[in-house]
Subunit: 303 residues, 2 copies
């Protein structure tokens, strides 16, 4: 699994930073979190591919988080995308997409399935992962997201099973899937030949928000948390006024949530470089890094 | 007067080129022709200023020509723009802006005046310039634009008038404005003390189109013509299919129209560099240049 930051600026783009968008590549599928205006340019630079299995999650209806979907649709259509595109967001996102698809001649070559998120909880449930959302606290209704892989089955001790003389095939499969079996009149317990299940990865993405206890709970135990830190803590008043967070607040929440690694993002245009924000966050949390446009992050399984 | 290319790619952006947008700075006012998605980034890079007197003209309702308006409105609002913004385009542009201003919370700090262009001819008439439009020929209704400065009065021969003993003041002004006067019983003709009027500058901007005789007439005598050349002429079939022009066609039209200088723009993403297109156009027209993102063009008065 890889994460690529496609835009890390808040509100307005800068020369270095595009508007909010995070791509997660997982098992051939692309999960996109927010699509700020112009994000398709970094999407193209990152070589992510326009005809991939893909889901897009939109945290809220500010232009710097949703307008990029229009250009992305246009370019996908020009490139003849055929797969359905699944988009998830608040009711206004549906309105935004439907009205613009009516007004602008996109010449869509593919279906766009717009899924309206009506409540907190599970947004997407697939075989091996799910995406959940939680109410954030911003100037307009806004959501935070969490990608959560299901635990993988434990390691199957093939050598031991072989030694028992059990033939490969259905019995193996039953043991691997947690069922106890009987072989040659002897009981064989799954848990004796299959190790403990291995945890999947959890990645949290805050969108635009103030820190809240609810979010700290939602992001509890994430391997990676990408949290907005629009301001350094000396601009706390600005953060309060605009319903954003400071780097200190992001780190405090990450620590409270027991998050392993914190990425700061969504930087105000006033910060040409982000060392001040990383420093103040590192005073609170051990593992902090600043997001940068086109930075690629490998996400290993937890040790 | 200066022209800055803010985006020179057709349809989809590339690593080097953003989506269509051309800025003309004239006497402190900014005239923007098209606003493809993400153009605000080059707008910021070019240092054009978010609170300037400004008019935006939109040629047609494809995403790569109009979606950038949304991000521009958002950033102008964030920067507290106070001046009214005047926008000109087809009826669908009005719908596009009104629907998006309803759905997205821009927090606008300024008025947006949306002017619907219902017919060809004069779109804007100011004291010293006007903007005209002409029907283009594209896959959807599309307009070409022309910025036309009014002729400036001729040079006033102050020395000669002084020698006649005429006192500075109202009589000077009348002579300068073409009126004949009588001074000390003697007739003084304006044309004897004021040189021939000096032509203003004319700049044509094609938008997306096939070449047509009507456009050749519309752009007749332009000092500068920015004409789309999505393809080289060996891709004429593609140009016909997509209602675009080739570099050869752009140059042929420019020559037919007696245009002084031709800029090619709106290049297909297949062209990493544009020498092929410039070469074939130069075989037809003497003065051809390829547009590039952030290229600044000084536009002198005609000699």
């Amino acid at each position: 699994m890889q994460m690529v930051f496609l835009g890390t600026s808040s509100a307005a783009p800068t020369i270095q930073r595009g508007l909010s968008s995070i791509a997660i590549m997982r098992d051939g599928e692309l999960l996109l979190f927010d699509a700020g205006e112009g994000m398709q340019r970094n999407f193209i630079k990152a070589g992510l591919g326009m005809n991939r299995k893909m889901k897009v999650f939109v945290s809220h209806m500010h232009a710097d988080h949703c307008v990029g979907l229009l250009g992305l649709l246009q370019t996908m259509a020009l490139q003849g995308r055929e797969r359905r595109l699944d988009v998830y967001g608040q009711p206004r996102l549906k309105e935004f997409l439907i009205e613009n698809m009516r007004i602008i001649n996109f010449g869509l070559t593919f279906d766009v399935a717009i899924h309206t998120i009506e409540q907190e909880g599970v947004v997407v449930e697939e075989n091996d992962y799910r995406v959940l959302c939680c109410e954030a606290k911003h100037s307009v209704p806004s959501l935070s997201f969490k990608l959560e892989e299901l635990d993988r089955p434990g390691v199957f001790d093939v050598e031991r099973v072989k030694k028992m003389g059990i033939p490969q095939g259905e019995l193996y499969s039953r043991l691997q899937h947690g069922q106890d079996i009987e072989y040659m009149g002897k009981a064989v317990r799954s848990r004796d030949v299959v190790g403990p299940s291995r945890p999947g990865r959890k990645i949290g993405i805050s969108g635009d928000t103030r820190p809240t206890d609810k979010l700290a709970k939602f992001f509890s135990g994430c391997d990676i948390l990408v949290f907005e830190s629009t301001y350094a803590h000396d601009k706390l008043q600005k953060a309060l006024e605009t319903s954003h967070s400071t780097a200190t607040e992001a780190a405090t929440l990450a620590k409270q949530a027991g998050v392993k690694k914190l990425f700061l993002t969504h930087f105000s245009a006033r910060y040409d470089e982000t060392s001040q924000l990383v420093s103040e966050a590192k005073a609170i949390h051990d593992d902090v890094e600043a997001a940068e446009d086109l930075k690629v992050v490998e996400i290993p399984y937890p040790a």
